[in-house]
Amino acid sequence: MNSTRAPLQPVIIGAGPAGIRAAQALVAAGLRPRVLDESARAGGQIYRQPPAVPGFMRAPATLYGFEHRKASRLHRLMAELAPNIDYEPGSMVWNLSDGVLDVLRDGVSRQVPYQHLILATGATDRVLPMPGWLTPGVYTLGGAQVALKYQGCAIGSEVVFMGTGPLLYLVAYQYAKAGARVAAVLDTASFGDRLAALPGLLRAPVLLAKGLYYMAWLRRHGVALHEQVRPLRVVGTTRVEAVECESGGHTLSIPCDALGYGLGLRSETQLASLAGCRYAYHARDRAWLPVRDAAGRSSVSGVYLAGDGAAIAGADAAELSGERAALALLQDMGSPVDLKRAGRLDGKLLRWQRIRDALERAFPFPEVWADSITDDVMICRCEEISAGTLRASVAGQGTQELNRLKALTRVGMGRCQGRMCGAAAAEVLARACGVGPDQVGRLRPQPPVKPIPIHMMVAMPAAAATAASALGASTAVSAKAAKSVERTVDLSQGGQP
């Protein structure tokens, strides 16, 4: 990097707990970070805010429950930071390479150069398909929560929640509190799992107490809680009619009109991969994750990782890791850093790691999943690729690696680019090969991370615009781009003959 030039503005991707805390730490050090976030309002998924328009009037206590103080604090913090950061909501970072981001906002894609980048990209539900999961009315747990927090509506009037993880009971509780009828909570984990995890969970008494409270509250309000269930199928054709599972040797069929389903979370690591970060298999998360040091430094100089996008650890840990990554960034820039503060954060983060290990023991990944689904279950819904197709590729073509599986079967080649189906495909492939999921590799993401409109406007640096113009695209100066040294190529006008 050219040391004679002033360093570029640091860029933070994501305005959830990790991104907000990272921004706070950078501002405190006198920097002015640029914060790019896909959502319309800050808070991330966990503290997602309803649209800033009249009509969405639910109070934070209703929206976030026990966490409403944390949520409000972060929302307030973001408002306080506003004068000292460049906050760009509604911005999708769809590509990244060699110190340049491609950012789509309001239909215009522009390039944002960076030297220091904090990736706080968050997570989505880990989707493990089962028979009938494509029936309308089936949502992920996270999706069910988004509906409640952002849209102020429930996914159904009589809802079953199934899967495992802390989110399972939280969402069920939030739904019941909001007035939805929760028909049942079906946990694939067992009481024994939780008992085994108890020593570890005792490190987080508040967390444990909250979990127990949700369960007790649900029971008290007549919600049936079943443990150690094996999901069988979702029943219904045009709409969910019932959920079937096996529990204690017999089959349960629970009538409902919607299902919230989820088996843990998966980190959004596409941008880290495009940035060239080294990856390693993370047994606890059952995923390949970008390698980072305790402070959040990736293997690529100038790229830092924080929050659930780096490894699943929850919102509290995300706040800590966001701040920690910012301190590492400052340290690497040569700015003075409160090392005591950094040490305290390291200690707390380590404690969260242990808690997280215990949580994963309490709500373990159902290792039998890949064996439990029949050949006709659709794994990749974008491309309509079934488990049987994946298994046939292993048997017939000797496929043993995930990218090869993608090439030969089209799994993960659709709109989601494997973000939704990749984890499940890896599990099926590994099982069919008789190896662990660490042995089948990880999908190499390609840009765009999410679909982009072919007709978007592309604002480019002047030099690139000249080149494009020479290739036949007409140019026009956009008002938005004019303030910087950028020109906009209006692709809608087409090429000159």
């Binding site: 340049v100 494009a468 290739l471 190529v489 087409g494 003959p497």
Partner: protein, 390 residues
């Protein structure tokens, strides 16, 4: 512990060329071992645009491309899959009268090679391809050209070769290849040594390196064609499109996705390439302009690959000039997919019969040796095949 294999033919590279050579040799009962650094058909052969086109090729390639056309017709019998191959027609578009003249000249020059090219004016384009953008004024249709899915076709050649008896070793990077006066000795680190009477150098963008090892310096470089695919759209485009002079090429697959190429990606580390950011805006603009139904559609993926390129955009195919028993086939310059099976067959003939009836003299490796080479190719005129992998 070094594993040793003694065989008749050793092939470096499991792309469509190396794998089809292995297939044709195995079918003739010749023992063959193929070494592939990654997995077969995963590099240029598996990630190219998928054009299966004769139109636009230089006259020197007519023998290979016509034979390949026959082989593509037998694809299921050859490799056990149709590879999504369709004879959709290939429409090469013109943006100017000069382009139309060039298309007409090409049509005249290639008469007798069975392409049955037909020139269309704008009115005819409107009648059959009303979705084309306004910038094109006409085109040349080759009714029996088409496209296929390279992700399926290229690996299938290797699988078929294996089924026919070839030894296929993947994840086996060749670290040295020499001739000891009697045999070729090809090694992969200290784990594998293959001895053979014949060596086929089919290592794509990496083949120049092996040629150099046998004293044959070639000006092979790498190119990285940029491609993208849209979400599935209602079917509108039957033909595969090219452009006189290059710039953009497009096809639509049965599922509805449009595969569109143009421009270049960037080299990552020699072994990989990435879409980069420079040429993406231009490609988006050209696609939206040329294909009206794409307006409002979304792009779901960009990709590129690493392909060997020669200054005159013709491959190197044929015997080594330094080492008997060594044959080269590389440098397809972004246009190897269609002719790949025919090149494999030619290699098999050269080994087993000592000759081939397909004219390949234009592809000899020493065509650059003479100082005259620079004079013969001043500036290397821009030709479409460098931008449309077929």
């Amino acid at each position: 512990m070094m594993e040793r294999i003694n065989t008749e033919v050793v092939i470096i590279g499991g792309g469509i060329v190396g794998a089809s050579a292995a297939l044709f040799l195995s079918r003739r009962g010749v023992p063959v071992t193929l070494l592939e650094a990654a997995v077969c058909g995963a590099k240029a052969s598996g990630v190219n645009y998928g054009g299966v086109r004769r139109q636009g090729r230089p006259l020197e390639q007519m023998g290979l491309t016509c034979r390949a056309h026959e082989l593509w017709a037998q694809l299921p019998a050859l490799i056990g899959t149709d590879g999504e191959y369709v004879r959709s027609g290939h429409l090469k578009l013109a943006r100017s009268e000069a382009d139309m003249t060039a298309l007409e000249t090409y049509r005249q020059a290639t008469r007798g090679h069975g392409m049955h090219l037909r020139l269309l004016d704008r009115a005819e384009l409107n009648r059959h391809y009303g979705w084309l953008g306004e910038e094109v004024i006409g085109g040349s249709l080759c009714p029996d050209d088409g496209h296929a899915n390279p992700r399926l076709v290229s690996p299938a050649f290797a699988l078929a070769a294996k089924a026919a008896g070839a030894v296929i070793r993947e994840s086996t990077s060749v670290t040295s290849a020499v001739h000891d006066g009697r045999h070729f000795i090809v090694r992969s680190d200290n784990t594998l040594e293959v001895r053979a009477s014949y060596l086929l150098n089919c290592a794509g963008a990496w083949a120049g390196h092996f040629a150099e090892g046998f004293g044959e310096v070639v000006p092979e470089t790498s190119i990285h064609p940029l491609m993208m695919v849209t979400e599935p759209l209602p079917l509108f485009m039957g033909v595969s499109l090219g452009m006189q002079g290059g710039g953009i090429y497009a096809r639509q697959v049965a599922r509805g996705n449009c595969v569109i190429g143009g421009g270049r990606g960037l080299s990552a580390d020699g072994n990989y390439a990435r879409p980069g950011q420079n040429d993406i805006p231009a490609l988006l603009g050209k696609a939206a302009s040329l294909l009206k139904p794409l307006r409002g559609a979304q792009v779901i993926r960009f990709w590129t690959g690493v392909e060997g390129n020669m200054p005159d955009h013709n491959p190197v195919v044929g015997p080594s000039r330094t080492t008997p028993g060594l044959f080269h086939a590389f440098g397809f310059s972004g246009a190897g997919f269609q002719i790949g099976p025919a090149v494999g067959e030619v290699l098999a003939q050269l080994v087993a019969d000592g000759h081939t009836d397909i004219p390949i003299d234009a592809f000899r490796i020493d065509r650059y040796a003479a100082a005259a080479h620079e004079a013969a190719c001043p500036g290397h005129p821009f030709r479409e095949q460098t931008l449309e992998a077929s």
